[in-house]
Amino acid sequence: MLQHFDPNKDYGTPASLSEKLVTLEIDGVEVTVPEGTSVMRAAAMYDINIPKLCATDSLEAFGSCRICAVQIEGRRGTPASCTTPVDAGMKVTTQNDKLAKLRRNIMELYISDHPLDCLTCPANGDCELQDMAGAVGLREVRYGFEGNNHLNAEKDQSNPYFTFDASKCIVCSRCVRACSEVQGTFALTIDGRGFDSKVAAGQNEPFLDSECVSCGACVQACPTATLMENSVIDMGTPEHSVTTTCAYCGVGCSFKAEMKGDKLVRMVPAKEGDANHGHSCVKGRFAFGYATHKDRIKAPMIRDSIDQPWQEVSWEEAIGFAAKRLKDIQAQYGRESIGGITSSRCTNEETYLVQKLIRAAFGNNNTDTCARVCHSPTGYGLKQTLGESAGTQTFDSVMHSDCILVIGANPTDAHPVFGSLMRRRLREGASLIVTDPREIDLLNTPHLGDATHLPLRPGTNVAMVNALAHVVVTEGYEDKEFIASRCDTKAYAKWREFIIDERHAPEAVEAITGVSAEKVREAARKFATAKNASIYYGLGVTEHSQGSTTVMGIANLALATGNIGREGVGVNPLRGQNNVQGSCDMGSFPHELPGYQHVADSVARARFEKAWGVELDDEPGLRIPNMFDAALAGEFRAMYVQGEDIAQSDPNTQHVEAALSALDCLIVQDIFLNETAKYAHVLLPGSTFLEKNGTFTNAERRINRVRKVMAPVAGKEDWEVTVDLANALGYPMSYSHPSEIMDEIASLTPSFANVSYERLEEHGSLQWPCNDAFPMGSPIMHTESFPIGDEGKAKFAVTEFVPTTERANSRFPLLLTTGRILSQYNVGAQTRRTDNQAWHDEDILELHPHDAEERGIKTGDWLGISSRAGQTVLRAKVSERMQPGVVYTTFHHPGSGANVITTNNSDWATNCPEYKVTAVQVEKVSQPSEWQKNFQDNHERQYEFLRGSASANSAVK
């Protein structure tokens, strides 16, 4: 009988996906496995374990060490079992004297060039070489350890997270293959031949200077201690593990948190994780040190005004203080004078509770979330066209794509593990079209085949997407059958009439987008004629004054070409934060209850009213920018902000700072004294993902468990704090575990009806909708109908191009666009407190050589950047990746003030800020901007206030 798949076991070679089964005999046992399976894997599936060194099941077999030799009846010699596929009727012998001798001889050669310091080696007990030496029964080494060997090779300790100790290398090339096959970076090679061969990073450089992106795949693949996590070298091998979900990006990788007592030793991506299949990036695998950083807020604090030092108090006192202030403010200024912000970093359960607190205990709908500033246009645009505010596919679906269109996204930096998967598909031959002002790294994928870059001007996405659709329709590439059977006829006819107009022709918009018409036509043809064409997009689409229009334009394009509802196609928003999908699903927006049920929908509202025991407001509440405006007008006076840093992440920082300063009571719940907390009156210690139970929902709508591996530093998980605040406000909440919160969510949210912790335990993860119609969840959506209208037909939307008012002129002649890089995460509060700083310790301004030369700017110069909103100073990097006239920066470091220059312009439908287009001027300067000086002063003062509280408190103690 076939064994159950055990994710902890290494089967030696990857699984075969064939459905055809083959039966053979191994050591007299009859085994039946899929065609294409290796003899090694077939044996392992029946618990017959053949020794191996160069094989591991995350990599294609290589056949270099020969230790896995077997004998096969009727075949000559001793073939390697890892590279030999099974055949029907084959008779295999894995153990006999001849094989044992052969294996011992091989092992002897390896060991003669290996330092015998096993007892003091960091991999002791977790070393495949050691295990195999035992397995083959090696007892003596006849070659001696003198002579030509690698024992004195130097260690490479340049990477902050792992060490390369070449003396222990057995040149199995697993690392090299992991870097190319799994990660797709091709940073490693085997240098030299025969005995002299060795592993080299880049052009024989230290790891840190090579193109290595520190994903750690090589470290994980290495069977010896050659590539080893520094944390294991320091702390020793872990003793137990807990499976959980990465809290950085929207890929939602599953990890085993490997522990020693209550100390986290390392994070190892879980093979059974459906989003990542055992891969990870530098953030998820290595950047967890922030959890134990000295800056963690460890006790609740309060103060009357933001000019005062913090006072450390008990939880009861802090919650009581906050509740009293909220109540007093509401009594004086009315029910709508307070509100809150849910976190896309916290769990679904926590987010749900915060919006419940606001709607039920505050009694208004003034709830919003950071998705406002990233993917709110996705919610709006996809709901209007496809009926559901979420991406349509699984990540794995990309492996069936023949043409991949990437618009305004940079997956290798912002969604690295998915970026690696996409690269794998591109190496297999899928064609690539990138619509982006910058030449993103995906375009430099090693072994990339057919690729087109449409380097459009910032702010012209709608014109571009319309032009692509225009070509599809006017050149006869529409999927008429799909449109007739799956789309609303009236909406389609209207759209068709709109899109065939000559003003959308690539020739007509060439002057707007700056991309040659012929190139656009070719790209459209390529997309339309591919068997399976998929679209992936990111914040380069949404963070524009026409973000929602572009999202609808993308849906139009997918519908017109019939690319929805099966593997390999679809509309795929690459969502930023770990739980931004979840925070939207959980009713964080002011107009929607959980599950995207509008507050004015009386049937839905009645269900919530019954369950929550209160009457709910039927009018939408304030969005984040409205909260700021109302605060400045004196009508909005208190705010509860859980796990978001609006003072750094939101546009037009000076406006935000003025609004926050105007509040009578700002309650911030966070793990650090973030920028927003500098304006707070109550500071409640947050808990990291390692310190709590819950769920995150990734960009594929996959609900994954988050499991507690250590106690929260201040004693409470984030959801417990919200519960306390609700109770103090007189609205009773009593949950003893997040699973109870999920049960409540499931009872009120139709798309979550069948979700429970029990079922998550059983299935590992579930993709919503998960209810009676889709009991096992929905990996691919819209396979038969769309959840829209009575007939379930998708709606084409008319998408007029309206240029942004933010235009370059003689005063501000350049366009600034902002983005992210791999090693830092969002506002950087976490990653800046890790060794990821080694890669990016400041935000810099990239500009084209032409623009640099005109202004006499060289790489490294200090540049003053001014816009209509403000001024800041950053260092310059002259870069060919930019087009002339466009400059670029990241916003990971608060002191850079990237958002001091971004403006109040926003998406017409959702108010998502236009981060991607700001007209600026740059010039050489010699000192920081006024804002930066003030920032630095306030920063020092606020940290002093914090330190003051800690020392005052320890003095009392």
Partner: protein, 79 residues
Amino acid sequence: MFHTEEESIVTMINHIAQNNVSAGTESDVADMVESHITKFWSRRMKKILAEQLATGTEEFEPAAKVAAQRISDKLAAKA
């Protein structure tokens, strides 16, 4: 870039009208604008909109003006 909250409210409704200009006739566009605002704007934004329509100096797009009038009438009826 705009400055006061009042200005921004009018800019926003005009922006919605401009983005839906291809919805059809002026009244079709006004329908889109009205339903959008009803669905997404807060009570406070609607109130400022009505005030601006009555007494403000900001310029409305024609369809936006029709929609603003309807919203304002609904508010008055509710009050």
